[in-house]
Amino acid sequence: MGKAIEAIDLDIYYGSFLAVQGVNMTIRPKTVTALIGPSGCGKSTYLRSINRMHEVIPGARVEGSIELDGTDLYGAGVDPVGVRRQIGMVFQRPNPFPTMSIYDNVIAGQRLNNKRMRKDATDDLVERSLRGANLWNEVKDRLEKPGSGLSGGQQQRLCIARAIAVQPDVLLMDEPCSALDPISTLAIEDLINELKMDYTIVIVTHNMQQAARVSDYTGFFNIEGTGKPGKLVEMDETKKIFSQPTQKATEDYVSGRFG
């Protein structure tokens, strides 16, 4: 668990529109990397290309390569389904399956792997994952209730539990707290701090303080103008980015002087 990611000369397209250009980025194992940048600069697009969710959109494609511990995720003969099992994802809006109970939501990924598990083994997995997502105490008495009946913050933690239940190598999070209140946000930030013991985490956020609080490394994306591709401006240790960035654009952005 916890593998390194390396993006090499990555160009990401929507049809003929080049959304993100020339990303070279190294993400160390078992660290938290924050991606920041103005709206529309391609953070989500880049994040989704890491677990090959980008190509789900009709016409969307990627050039260049992303390596997970040295193996090219976009190499010939690599099954995107397998990639997504290794690289979990948490979305901006909580999206538990509304037709499943809390319990079934957590083991949804495990069911996919077609492993027949004994009841006590799945019980165990559910408890472990929910504890890992700091949700166990709140839901342990209503595991059979629908996941959509939880509060937004609880739903988001349920989604995190669902993502870590399959024990991925990497966890991608796209603005996981943007729909949450400050208390739930703190709960999830604490959780991220715990999860990085086991997982490589990449998180997109618009919240500078959050990036500063949770991440070890920060990458700043920027865009020169509408219709132009987004680019990775610089990436470094978080405290470096926030104290003495090498690029003027980064400094303007993190100090709030952007746009």
Partner: protein, 323 residues
């Protein structure tokens, strides 16, 4: 979403008028009135139909058994018809529903857009074809063409009572009726299913894919559970059409009145609707009452089927994703 709860100074406003009655816009009142009116009208019409059926059917229920056509009483007369009606409709539903779901899934999730759209229009078009056309197709094309297949079924699957034979030489059998009805109700079930499948939230489809679901697994996880109540509604619409289908059955089926599960022989029970259509012109007196009594039974069957579907849909309402 963004409700402002900041305890800022309250906006300066004139004190509310001391009126106890809430203000209602005239537009709202008109709309509420006409909606209520329409609702009541439907109930009144339904009650009227039920009353007509009850009153006209009553003589048949009290008449001596010998007076009822067939001479064995009302139950003996109606039971084979009920059986035939349900049998034909169930066959149609069993064939059409899975097929319709597959076609709808193909249109919404597998076909390239270039093919999906014309296919969608085509399905809608098929739903509008009058049933007599399907009936003609059934009797002129499907029935003769199916004799060979039914012979095969008898030869190899004859141990299943459904295919015991002997095969009808004309092919005008219950199986052909079932298949024709299936073709007839396929478009409506497909159209309804397609609509709900299209409405599956992208969010949930992506959740499944991001967990490492293949496309088919994603469909099983996100699309089908979400579309479940829609599929059931579509199937019920189809079932309603199959139960009440008259002309197609009347011109295809060769009837003996036998109550049998044997689908490929020439001795079949008729259906309520087809029987009414065939018998009504030559009926008088108590015979008419008997036919109306069978119509009442059809009415009740439809009611029961719809209630059952409602019940199935509501049972898992919590999990419907509507909240």
């Amino acid at each position: 979403m963004s409700t402002d709860t900041s305890p800022g100074p309250a906006p300066a406003k004139a004190p509310a008028p001391p009126s106890t009655r809430p203000v209602v816009q005239p537009g709202d009142r008109i709309f509420a009135g006409s909606a209520t009116g329409a609702g009541i009208l439907i109930l009144v019409v339904l009650a009227g139909v039920a009353a007509f059926l009850l009153i006209e059917a009553a003589p048949a229920f009290v008449a001596p058994a010998a007076d009822i056509p067939g001479g064995n009483g009302i139950v003996a007369y109606i039971w084979p018809l009920v059986f035939g009606t349900l049998l034909a409709a169930v066959i149609a539903l069993l064939i059409a529903t899975p097929l319709a779901v597959c076609v709808a899934l193909f249109i919404t999730h597998f076909a390239p857009r270039r093919i999906a759209q014309p296919l969608g229009y085509l399905i809608d078009l098929l739903a509008a074809v009058p049933s007599i056309v399907y009936g003609l197709w059934g009797v002129a094309v499907l029935a003769p063409a199916s004799v060979e297949l039914m012979t095969w079924l008898q030869d190899y699957l004859g141990w299943i009572p459904l295919f015991a034979g002997p095969v009808s030489a004309t092919g005008r059998t219950m199986l052909v009726v079932g298949v024709t009805l299936a073709v007839m109700i396929l478009p409506i079930i497909t159209a309804v299913s397609r609509e709900v499948f299209l409405q599956t939230p992208k969010l949930h489809e992506e959740a499944a894919l991001a967990l490492g679901a293949t496309r088919w697994e994603m469909i099983k996880m996100a699309v089908l559970p979400f579309g479940r109540s829609g599929i059931i509604s579509g199937a019920m619409l189809g079932l309603g059409r199959a139960l009440g289908e008259t002309m197609a059955v009347a011109i295809i089926l060769s009837v003996s009145g036998a109550v049998t599960f044997n689908l490929i022989s020439s001795g079949n029970p008729s259906t309520i609707a087809a029987n009414i259509a065939l018998q009504f012109p030559e009926s008088t007196g108590i015979e008419v009452n008997t036919l109306i009594a069978s119509g009442l039974v059809l009415f009740l069957i439809t009611l029961a089927v719809n209630s059952l579907a409602r019940f199935i849909i509501n049972r898992r309402r919590e999990f419907s994703g509507a909240n």
